[in-house]
Symmetry: C2
Subunit: 325 residues, 2 copies
Amino acid sequence: MLTDVAGEILRGSPRAAARLITWLENEDPRAFPCMEALFPHSGRAYIIGITGSPGAGKSTLTDKLTQAIRSSGLTVGIIAVDPSSPFTGGAVLGDRVRMSQLSLDPGVFIRSMATRGFLGGMARATGEVVKVLDALGKDIILIETVGVGQDEVDIIGIADTTCVVLVPGLGDAIQSMKSGIMEIADVFVINKSDRSGADQLYTEVATRVEQDHHIKGRPWLAPVVKTVAVNNEGMEDLWEKIERHRRYLEASGEFMERRRERTGRETLRMIHHEIFRLVRRQLEDTGEMERLVGEITDRKRDPYSVMKEVLSGWLKQAGPAKEAS
Amino acid sequence: MLTDVAGEILRGSPRAAARLITWLENEDPRAFPCMEALFPHSGRAYIIGITGSPGAGKSTLTDKLTQAIRSSGLTVGIIAVDPSSPFTGGAVLGDRVRMSQLSLDPGVFIRSMATRGFLGGMARATGEVVKVLDALGKDIILIETVGVGQDEVDIIGIADTTCVVLVPGLGDAIQSMKSGIMEIADVFVINKSDRSGADQLYTEVATRVEQDHHIKGRPWLAPVVKTVAVNNEGMEDLWEKIERHRRYLEASGEFMERRRERTGRETLRMIHHEIFRLVRRQLEDTGEMERLVGEITDRKRDPYSVMKEVLSGWLKQAGPAKEAS
């Protein structure tokens, strides 16, 4: 039964993939053996991150880019990550509307991940879903997320090529340039480029990219692509630039290097999550947690000594916080 | 020496507090014994969260509210959390400018937390800094953060009273209403209320609050306060509403209930973080991580069996992922 689901996924069943993703979301133990069975068949898909401020038009861009990729004959998996924000939580409805349109194409699989407070973080969950869609046989996986907050930056760390979407008039381009977005962007997209201010934004971004290339010696010169996604303009150009970045990564050896780093991060995240899950369940099931919290709240104990006690009861190696005592 | 720092903080030294916070940020082991020594002296300060979209005027509001609190004779600690976003990273400079103005008042302590990729999450770090400012003797602690992303929602979970700042014309009020912000807001602030659309926004929010109160039976009727922070308008009113919420929490018993829940979350978070730190250090220092990652990347092994192996080497109790194998 369990390996049935894995087998069906390997034979391309979207229904089986949807079931496994639900198991992953619910922390259902049936997910484990499936993921083990699928793992040797993953690692083949190319992963593209699409990130940018709310209002940058990421959903539309993802749709139109998917159509461009489909016409080149490749299949696509889309993971839309909603950062569970009280301020941007409106995305879910939009995704559902979209899903009903694109889902007519059997070469496209869409999954919206909007779970608030996902244990172990959205980045871990997204990494697992990527592996499922990869094993399902999708050639290209698009991850769409608002690039706000550490968790979302971690999500983008899963991608081989990261596209940062900017729009004229939001006034945050310069700030974005200052604060680390240069490092995560492999391709810049100026969307809604029929708006006034598009040329100025293009020049600002291109200038900054060239500075980073020539002065700081960053080897990849990130291209800047103008699009009007809603009119389907610029999609071929964008896809061509993404493919160029892929060829660069493969030729330079950076591709394997990035994948190796990602595997390290994912493995640590998985180990960490599982240990914590076990410790937490034990503490809560035995009622020990409630007792400890009561003592801390009443200031009879402090949380630091409680932490040391809990860890020394659990871990075989390296006495907890040893160097601190 | 270590307890000197804790002792100085208890005697009110901002320099000692700043040093301990730096230790916390750097994961310096000297922080542990200090935090243990300070803990019995914490729990006295009242904690207020200020959250809202970028551009809502949270920084100015925090400043002016601080002045209002100061004129009532209470001391204030301010923690400005920058969510380390590539899209909103501009806040740091503003905080520094502000810091140089308000820091003339010895009754105010300001700390800006802008560290990207804080190990263990910004929420854990913010919770620790709250305890330091509490032990330093600040009566009121204001936490200012953009409420986007899970980490920021967790940060707001630290507060006793959460103020959600909205502004006319951003057009996200209705979406915010839908997507969970009602649950976190104890006081609504309509800032920049001299702008057109303020009355309409006020009515929308107030109507929704009353619905939640009367229909869903939420016991606290969240007040809606109009302010123009930049002109210092509405600050007394806001402070009065916050104090009213405090009296409500204390009278209803919700105060202790919330604090108890927070202690539980913080203790779990601390255990979570410390486990990760220990496992990671051990795996990386021994070179085991590099070997395992190489094998996984080459598809010789899968990360799930690696996880089980690592866990069985670490845990005294409860065989890892037992129910999953």
